[in-house]
Symmetry: C2
Subunit: 594 residues, 2 copies
């Protein structure tokens, strides 16, 4: 097994060109009038080449080597520094950055595909540039002119890497408990920051000559709780204007020994009279971070997808090559001598796992890219109402994608590991690393439980929450199109319509019950999110089935699309009813305290 990562370019093309029909929409955006499918595919092919050749080969070695911490300095694994420099040199960090800010101004859709590739190839490596977009958006939106001039160009280009410093030992999900303080720095336009932060990915490293920290802290006269938090930007090094630089009070005190992501340094940081500038208004730090965290959450969802894809690819390759036991049945034309061991890919238990991996990966790719597409519409559509609605839809889809994709990414890794049998437990086969690396995405950028609360309690239940209705309309529109199609597609459409109906009535039940028992929504939030996740996959597969009709070209790709789509409705979608039954349970039955 010497399988290295291969980017799923064919399916990416299917999703962009056929499932989303993105190019037809690009034509209406002035900046993207010249952007067509061949151009987009060329970008993705170049990205794939870079990721496959330069990033993927560092994945296993970085896991073995890990990061080194010595006297406040962090050394990243061999090859990270050089490959990151090439990444910046090639302009990948600015792919979707406005041309006005020095970027290439391409759709976020392409950037999200790049994120998927990077996560699937080498999640630890991706951790360093992971916050570049978020930090850029945050400084663009809220930074003072001074900050924009001093920091933004190098942050946006990726020349300097960024971090997000929220968590403190006592303040994880509950950022209101943050204690770090900012005091005015006399005679300057800035502040001194003092405090300790933990779990800071890339808080210190040797990949760039400066690191720009976005730090949540309590400014002067801050009220307690989240309403007293302000955001500050604190560079590791300060430039003195004469081309020299001086050390700021930013210290890395250690790195964590983690389950996975060993190539990415998770740092404990101490800020001691560290000079920084306020970003946005005082006491409005969380709002400023929101723009950063939303971008980050969709990226985390792409990590789940990337891991699921890698898991699928590894398990699929292994199952073709490994022969054990006679098969109960073999596909027509299979070259297996009678009485001889068959590739395990023929055994039903393995086919179940492999088909489910594939169904999840390809379904999620459509939904993940769809979300990115809404972000593009939100950013670029000529009509302000369209922009607003797209933004709300993206904001509804983001927590679902984050929690559902990351849980599935981890589940996919474990299921794929099972295909390897005992070899799966051994490092050199790679899949156990996928499992370990994938686990973190269920925890950071808001645990998956926090995503579920965000979805149900902040975005679905409130009166006037329109995005949920928009989503159901989208799903039902697809169901109708399917029901006007050929018989197998018609069945998928009918099923999809039924799911939308169930989601709507279940939502109504939760709302009614929650009005009487304000714990209800908290009991059912996780299963509710998963229900919506499965409905979205059904939406993805119904549309894919509608597109990949037997009338379209006879390429194996479409035949397999149809088979996978049918399989999805036959098997994995049973999870929707399961989640629904758990939501019903949570509406009925209280929960003991343990």
């Amino acid at each position: 097994m010497t399988l290295t990562y291969q980017a799923p370019l064919r399916d990416m093309r299917f999703v962009m060109d056929e499932w989303l029909d993105a190019a037809s929409w690009w034509r209406d955006v002035p900046d993207w009038q010249d952007l067509d499918s061949p151009t987009a595919q060329q970008v993705l092919e170049e990205a794939a080449r870079f990721v496959e050749e330069r990033i993927a080969p560092l994945n296993a070695s970085a896991d073995l080597e890990g990061c080194r911490f010595d006297a406040g300095k962090v050394t990243t694994p061999a090859g990270f520094r050089e490959s990151y420099a090439e990444f910046v040199e090639a302009g990948w960090p600015t792919l979707s950055l406005d041309a006005g800010h020095g970027g290439q101004g391409l759709p976020q859709l392409l950037d999200v595909a790049l994120q998927e590739m990077l996560a699937g190839a080498n999640h630890a490596w991706l951790m360093s540039p992971g916050l570049t977009h978020g930090a850029t958006a945050c400084l663009q939106t809220y930074g003072s002119e001074r900050v924009k001039k001093a920091l933004l160009p190098k942050v946006a280009s990726g020349e300097w890497l960024s971090t997000m410093c929220l968590t403190e030992p006592q303040a994880g999900s509950d950022v209101g408990l943050i204690r770090s303080r900012a005091t005015e720095a006399p005679g300057t336009d800035g502040y001194f920051i003092d405090g300790s932060k933990i779990f800071i990915s890339g808080g210190a490293h040797d990949m760039t000559e400066n690191i720009v920290h976005l730090v949540l802290a309590r400014g002067p006269d801050a009220p307690p709780g989240t309403k007293g938090l302000s955001l500050f930007v604190v560079p590791e090094w300060l430039e003195d204007g004469d081309g020299g630089r001086s050390c700021n009070g930013v210290y890395c005190e250690g790195i964590e020994k983690k389950m996975g992501l060993k190539g990415s340094p998770t740092c404990t940081m101490r800020f001691e009279r560290a000079f920084g500038w306020l970003v946005g208004e005082a006491h409005r730090g969380l709002a400023c971070l929101f723009v950063m965290m939303n971008a980050a959450r969709l990226q985390v969802a792409m990590q789940g997808l990337g891991h699921a894809h890698t898991a699928w690819q590894r398990a699929h390759a292994y199952a073709q090559e490994r022969a054990q036991m006679r098969a109960v049945s073999v596909p027509p034309g299979a070259n297996v001598a009678p009485g001889k061991a068959a590739p395990i890919a023929f055994h039903p238990a393995m086919r179940r796992i492999l088909m489910e991996l594939r169904a999840i990966v390809e379904g999620e790719r459509a939904i993940g890219y769809w979300t990115a597409h809404w972000l593009d519409i939100a950013a670029r559509h000529a009509d302000v109402a369209e922009r607003e609605q797209a933004a709300q839809l993206a904001s509804l889809l983001t927590p679902i994608a984050k929690a559902f994709f990351t849980a599935n990414g981890y589940g996919a890794a474990s299921n794929a590991l099972q295909v390897f049998g005992g070899y799966g437990y051994i490092h050199e086969y790679g899949i156990e690393q996928t499992l370990r690396d994938s686990r973190v995405s269920m925890l950071y950028e808001g645990t998956n439980e926090i995503q579920a609360i965000d979805l149900l309690i902040r975005k679905v239940l409130p009166d006037g929450a329109v995005a949920f209705d928009v989503l159901l309309r989208q799903v039902r529109a697809e169901a109708r199109l399917c029901q006007e199609s050929d018989p197998p597609v018609r069945a998928a459409g009918a099923k999809l319509a039924e799911l939308a109906q169930t989601v709507e009535s279940t939502t109504r039940s939760i709302k009614a019950r929650h009005a009487q028992d304000p714990e209800t929504a908290y009991r059912v939030a996780d299963d509710y999110l998963a229900m919506l996740g499965w409905m979205l996959l059904a939406f993805a597969w119904a549309r894919a089935l509608r597109i990949a009709t037997p009338q379209c070209e006879a390429e194996t790709f479409y035949v397999e699309k149809r088979e996978t789509g049918r399989f999805f409705f036959d098997y994995p979608l049973a999870a929707f009813a399961y989640r629904r039954s758990l939501v019903a349970a949570g509406c009925e039955a209280t929960l003991p305290y343990v």
Copy 2:
């Protein structure tokens, strides 16, 4: 967080004394007439003390340190050698060994409880003594007098550790592909073994002065496939009769880098003209191993339970101590200041996880111990028909426990990790090690997919397979008792009766469909096994609810039993219907080849 392992003695006592009422049965066995609950509990308390004080503290350090391989020699982590010597000295390996063979002759039930403790405290440590019972049973049953004299006493006492050498690179699940060969050793009563084996747990180490390998190989004139396999016993060192010893041709060529179990050396072994004796008849090696593998499979099930218990214990302790966010509701009398962060144990999403962990752990403990109890009946009952039936029931329950408990143990570790948030990903909190260590039990001693095939195709579907009917009778008898009880218990009884009915009719459907399409049972086996697993947990909880009535003493233990039992029927049991729907899908829909 400095939580160390605490054995669940209170629940173990509940299961043995009340759920199984084991002592009433022990009175009918001559050897166990003096064995009563206080004596049994005293044994378990001593075991708990040893495990908590000597074994558990080595768990995290062994994971960090790992095993070292140098020039054919393997060094185990600090403390393993000494603590194992104490374990042998204290007689723990011979707890359930016949007094006639130098053991203490106690029920296997107690031994299984010890296995649970060891697995929960330090799975890697347990790997070394893990095969002592199986090897003892195998040599007792099939060893020649010469072998029994030369090897059995030291194997049985644990003075020498044992291994099981099956797997070769090309032969994992498919042992018929084994290539290792045995040739007669001229002028002796033995054979020379040549071949390579992989994934041999404890193939080499520094814990005992000799290691006894049970090796599957092809003897002279062996037919191909599994019917050509014979079993040989090959000691690492041969004794020359004068108290000296000579090196046998047994070489460790390396140890694996694994996802977990880092304290246990997984060895690649080369046998080169290694002298060994035939065990049992030639070409009947698999049959001889069966006795060993059955014992091992129930032990592996206990690993799943042990990990689930540890996961529950760690997450529960953490959730009490960690305060984040205001709670939607708090239990009566809780000491949380208004507006302040509450222990996360109060948050509904965490209560869901914690209650489910508890429901699974305690339900599985009852079922696991029940299986051991049947093994005791099979070994000791006065009536031969009772013995036979008990053996068949144990043999039916074993693959279910192995696959269901290990999948749940791993699932429990991941769910418990989620309770820790970001801290769960950090080594020092211990839970990520539980996750990594627990994963292997789904793979070895027959992957969980192999267990499912064993259950459905070998033990349920064949005509004349009586154990399945016996199991359903047991379940229905409990359902009837519950239905004669108080209202809440009655509801559980009615549900249990319904589950038994569903299992019976589903089994009939599979059988009918399988007769037409011989792939059917292979498609549904995994979900079928899980269905039976959930039915067994419902059986466990129905009986627990029946016992823990409000009339019984007011100890918190019983109040919590009732709450957990009710929770089980309200929430986790929804998985039964889910698995049932997947079995139905597998009966209907074929599977594509990927």
